[in-house]
């Protein structure tokens, strides 16, 4: 049984984008703040901090979750994947990111890291989704400048690209 008293700072180890890392946190520290301020991976953005906007979405053991509705201590020993993992080592964007660029699926880009992580999980489970399914997953995100049509087009193209590669 793990017990941490309030105000006690404990070492929390986890895997971030394939690397084993650790940092100190109090029980009340959110995973979003831990990833950004303690581990220094600022690609994940923080918007509303109550689970509505979707900006802070990361993958926890491969499934997309709100990192503002997860405590850092809950991610102990688990694998966290953020937007920094998507591009290749040489900076080349992956298929989903390239499709976002091509379809102007971002403008200010604040909401983009969360949307990319949601669809990274979703396309792994459902590689060839319908437009309605894409819209349904996108309903868990708010974008206040570009609008959603470009995002839907980008996800559909990325899914088709993945599909053709598998064929």
């Amino acid at each position: 049984m793990r017990r941490v008293s309030k105000n006690e700072r404990v070492k929390i180890g986890l895997t971030l984008n394939g690397r084993k890392l650790s940092g100190e946190a109090e029980p009340r520290m959110l995973l979003s703040d831990f990833v950004r301020h303690v581990l220094g991976a600022t690609g994940t953005h923080v918007g509303c901090e109550h689970g509505v906007c979707g900006c802070c979405t990361v993958m926890l053991d491969g499934t997309a979750v709100r990192s503002c509705l997860t405590l850092a201590v809950q991610a102990e020993g688990r694998a966290v994947t953020t937007v920094e993992s998507l591009a290749a080592g040489d900076g080349k964007l992956n298929a989903l990111q390239q499709a976002f660029q091509k379809h102007h699926a971002l403008q200010c880009g604040f909401c983009t890291p969360g949307i990319l992580m949601s669809f990274t999980d979703f396309l792994q489970r459902n590689p060839n989704p319908s437009e309605a399914e894409v819209v349904d997953v996108l309903s868990g995100h708010l974008c206040r400048c570009t609008g959603y049509a470009g995002i839907v087009a980008a996800v559909l193209e990325a899914s088709n690209a993945t599909q053709q590669k598998q064929d």
């Binding site: 049984m1 309030k6 009340r28 109550h50 979707g54 509705l69």
Partner: protein, 274 residues
């Protein structure tokens, strides 16, 4: 905002979790998916002294069939139940209602039991449990209590759970008959304004459950001989429940939504049974 400080405890077994709850009672809060609780902590609407994280208790992360009922453990997420292969065959009402629970991203972490424990009057899962006449299993050091859905959910965000009790599972009976579910929300995945679930028990009788009209889901058996009988019964129900006013809708709009949804859902359930 950020939560106020709290002690964090992550038990490995139900026995350990129950012992912590016996020690701290109402000062403690059980953390399962946290998709409502973490938001409430961040907004400082709740300020527990101790948070008991049950997400790593392996025995709670299971779905079983027991005595003609599907038992869903307290750590089972909404998406896990949605992807469970037996769902469409055994619990078609849940298969219809789960896609309306939050969003894909929140269902990945939000639990079935957590939603029922939270007891939001407009919520889909408490409504489904009430219509199917399911049960809530509560464990404490004193033993196990099994409460019917209507005994468990007492009012707005209020349940019969005692401070030292842990909800270990809920049980949804496998029932024969047509089902249907619909709701109206501002945006898909948002909190419903009014939700309606129906189970056609026979040619002439439908169990109709309504969420978002009163302090808790209202379930009644309505005469469903023909379209006119259904329309009369839903009209009667709208006036009986009255509805209430909040920022999303007036009581009058709620009654009107119930008239429209109620009739359509009852007819759908009947057609699905045939």
């Amino acid at each position: 905002m950020k939560p106020r400080p709290f002690d964090y405890v992550r038990p490995d077994t139900v026995g350990e979790a129950v012992a912590i709850l016996a020690e701290h009672g109402d000062e403690a809060r059980v953390l399962a998916g946290g998709q409502t609780l973490l938001a409430m902590l961040n907004l400082r609407v709740v300020e527990p002294a101790v948070l008991v994280d049950i997400t790593r208790i392996a025995e709670l992360d299971a779905i079983h069939e027991v005595d003609g009922k599907i038992e869903v453990g307290a750590a089972v997420t909404q998406n896990k139940l949605m992807a469970w292969p037996g769902l469409g065959q055994t619990l078609p009402l849940l298969a219809a209602a789960l896609p309306f629970v939050g969003h894909f991203q929140t269902r990945n972490k939000g639990t079935v039991c957590g939603s029922i424990a939270h007891a939001d009057p407009a919520s889909e899962l408490p409504l489904s449990l009430a219509v199917l006449e399911g049960e809530v299993m509560l464990r404490s050091r004193k033993g196990m209590r099994v409460l019917a859905a209507r005994e468990f959910q007492q009012g707005m965000l209020t349940t019969a759970r005692e401070g030292d009790e842990l909800i270990t599972a809920v049980r949804f009976p496998i029932v024969k008959g047509g089902v249907a579910f619909r709701e109206v929300a501002r945006r898909h995945g948002d909190f419903a304004i009014v939700g309606v679930a129906a189970l056609a028990e026979s040619k002439d009788s439908i169990r109709l459950g309504v969420a978002g009209m009163a302090e808790r889901p209202a379930v009644s058996r309505i005469d469903a001989r023909d379209a006119a009988a259904i329309r009369d019964a839903v009209e009667h129900l709208a006036w009986e429940l009255e509805g209430y006013e909040d920022i999303h809708a007036t009581a009058r709009m709620r009654r009107d939504l119930l008239r429209r949804l109620g009739t359509v859902v009852a007819v759908e359930a009947k057609r699905c049974a045939a």
